[in-house]
């Protein structure tokens, strides 16, 4: 089998950015696909918030949850994080759907755990199983995941996360022991979400709206610097891991679900090229799917 241009270009783009990259991209309407290691197990990190979002809306559609229900979020016991409720200092009261907005738009860890507690971890796994995501599983919430990282990092805390010894023992970086999926499972989830197969259309529209409000410009969106192209997505980040799954929509009606999971050789936290290659790889894949 000869090396195809797309596979070769993906490989080169990942190597050039100093990452190992896995990708799956699919044309939501035709089912045509492009893959690079699409069935390898990956740590989802915050990408798993998409599964929480779908579960929440599924329960709402079933009449078990009211998305406008108000919940209290006191300052004590919040899951740590640099954004949203996780970073706020005072008591907050908000609706479940606004918590979902924070979870998706700024990856708010407190909002995510608040929703996860409300729907239950088992419900999230039931939802992904129902959608046929056989390789996707949540084993714990976001606060618990961060707690294993604190434990594995030891007394030096965050700054130990660039130490290669610490990286080899972080349980959160082992797909067998943390929340996991595969690139193909994630595009299957997004395809269901965009085709209104996961939830009825009004709930689908609500989910697509919050995924389109994600603030980060540096990963998937960076590969599509076109005013007339819409990008919706959810990132996931852990030491050496940079992920994003999302949907890219062109004005001619073409829409493509893309899942990119990368692992950097360099443990540094700030690596703009490693973020940007997620967009570069997605664009290579989408261009291949759009090629006449």
């Amino acid at each position: 089998m000869s090396d195809t241009t797309t596979a070769g270009r993906l490989h080169a783009a990942f190597a050039d950015a100093g990452v190992t990259g896995l990708l799956h991209a699919v044309d939501i309407d035709s089912g045509a696909q492009v893959g690079a290691g699409a069935d390898q197990p990956v740590c989802t990190a915050s990408v798993h918030k998409v599964c929480v979002l779908v579960t929440l809306h599924e329960l709402a559609a079933a009449g078990e949850i009211d998305l406008t229900e108000q919940v209290e979020c006191p300052p004590a016991g919040r899951t740590p994080g640099p954004t949203g409720l996780a970073a706020m200092l005072d008591p907050v009261r908000l609706s479940l759907r606004d918590a979902a907005l924070l979870m998706m738009s700024v990856s708010d860890n407190t909002a995510a755990d608040l929703l996860l507690r409300r729907v239950g971890l088992d419900a999230v796994n039931r939802t992904t199983a129902r959608l046929g995501l056989t390789r996707t599983r949540a084993v714990y919430g976001f606060g618990e995941m961060l707690a294993t990282m604190r434990e594995d990092a030891g007394p030096a805390g965050t700054r130990a996360l660039t130490d290669p010894h610490v990286l080899t023992r972080l349980r959160a970086l082992d797909p067998a022991r943390t929340n996991r999926s595969t690139p193909r499972d994630m595009t299957r989830l997004l395809t269901a979400l965009w085709r209104d197969e996961a939830c009825p259309p009004q709930y689908g529209a609500a989910m697509r709206r919050v995924m389109g409000l994600q603030v980060w410009p540096h990963r998937l969106a960076s590969g599509f610097p076109f005013d007339d192209v819409h990008v919706a997505g959810k990132t996931g980040t852990l030491p050496t891991l940079r992920n994003e799954v999302g949907v890219v929509e062109y004005p001619d009606g073409g829409r493509y679900a893309v899942a990119v999971f990368t692992r950097t050789a360099n443990p540094a936290a700030t690596l703009p090229a490693a973020d940007a290659v997620i967009g570069t790889a997605a664009r290579i894949a989408v261009d291949a799917l759009r090629a006449p």
Binding site: M1, A7, A17, T20, D39, S46, P164, T168, G236
Partner: protein, 320 residues
């Protein structure tokens, strides 16, 4: 049928989604790999891949079998590692590698020290880049090696990480050569001679970022590796090169070139011994000790200093 070997082929093709790359990773040619997959499909009575002229895609059935295949291979590895450890570790062959940045003195010290520790064991030492070593670990062709960080350490166990401070090679007549220690920022205006980026993109980027952090952003990076080529660039074209104290070009008797330490030791190569997780044994330990000792005594290597502050930005998404 050798089920383990066939499953290795299955997992490699599944992970690479490409027969050519899978064959390269397994160190075999493509036709026998295709034959093995076909034989395995026949044996299992299940179609594992959809093949077209342009790509290979795993089937639903293949996906269902992949996790079990991985598990079985991991168990097989564990069994072989246990068997290795049950053998006394005093007989047999240890396949080891060093990345190419070390002097002959370091290699000699390592070999003689290892022989003293483990006289009964045959050591087969190769010169391999870090990328080549990681690939050889995955393909079970290498037991232990000395690697250059940063690199992807997934699935590895590591010995202590040692740093070798980098100094700068300058023309003897340059203003900076008159100083005992050269501040990195004072190199502004010089081009930088560096190995080609494709050899190790992460190490290359890490070094340029550290230069920038220290106030030195070279206007141009010139790519060169051979000692005489680097020497020529430094002597004639307004460029400087970086290297540890025991670098080949840092000869105090050289009439034209000088090596000077950088003030505050802002740049370093980082190395450690590494071996695949779960495959360590007495021989690997002995190599790790010999290599670490050789680096400390002959390559000017020392323990890493305290970690620098790490300011996570909001896009990091996690917070401890």
């Amino acid at each position: 049928m050798d089920l383990v070997r066939h499953l290795e082929c299955f997992v490699a093709v599944a992970e690479e989604s490409h027969f050519g790359r899978a064959a390269a990773r397994l160190g075999m040619a493509q036709p026998p790999l295709s034959q093995r997959i076909a034989r395995l499909e026949k044996e299992l009575g299940v179609r594992l891949f959809e093949r077209s002229s342009r790509r290979v895609t795993i089937t639903e059935a293949g996906t269902l079998l992949l996790a079990e295949a991985r598990e079985l291979l991991a168990r097989s590895d564990a069994l072989l590692a246990t068997a290795r450890r049950i053998r006394d570790g005093e007989t047999g062959l240890l396949r080891a590698a060093l990345s190419p940045e070390f002097s002959g003195r370091t290699v000699a010290a390592l070999l003689s020290d290892f022989r003293q520790r483990h006289s009964g064991l045959e050591l087969e030492l190769h010169e391999l880049s870090t990328a080549e070593q990681l690939a050889a670990f995955a393909a079970h062709r290498l037991d232990v090696g000395v690697i250059h960080h940063p690199c992807d350490v997934t699935g590895l166990e590591l010995g202590p990480v040692l740093r070798r401070d980098l100094g700068v090679l300058l023309p003897r007549g340059s203003a900076q050569a008159a100083r005992a220690e050269v501040p990195l920022a004072s190199l502004t205006g010089y081009d930088l001679v560096l190995f080609p980026r494709a050899h190790a993109p992460a190490v290359y980027d890490h070094l340029l970022t550290a230069c920038a952090r220290g106030g030195y952003t070279p206007a141009a990076v010139r790519h060169g590796q051979g000692a005489s080529f680097v020497r020529g660039l430094v002597l004639s074209s307004g460029a400087v090169a970086l290297g540890p104290r025991d670098t080949q070009l840092a000869d105090p008797a050289d009439p034209d070139l000088v090596w000077r330490p950088l003030a505050g030791a802002p740049l370093a190569w980082r190395h450690s011994v590494a071996w695949p997780k779960g495959r360590g044994d007495a021989a690997v330990d002995a190599f790790a000790e010999a290599a670490t000792h050789a680096l400390r005594t002959t390559a000017d290597a020392r323990a890493e200093t305290a970690a620098r502050p790490l300011h996570l930005r909001p896009a990091s998404e996690f917070w401890l």
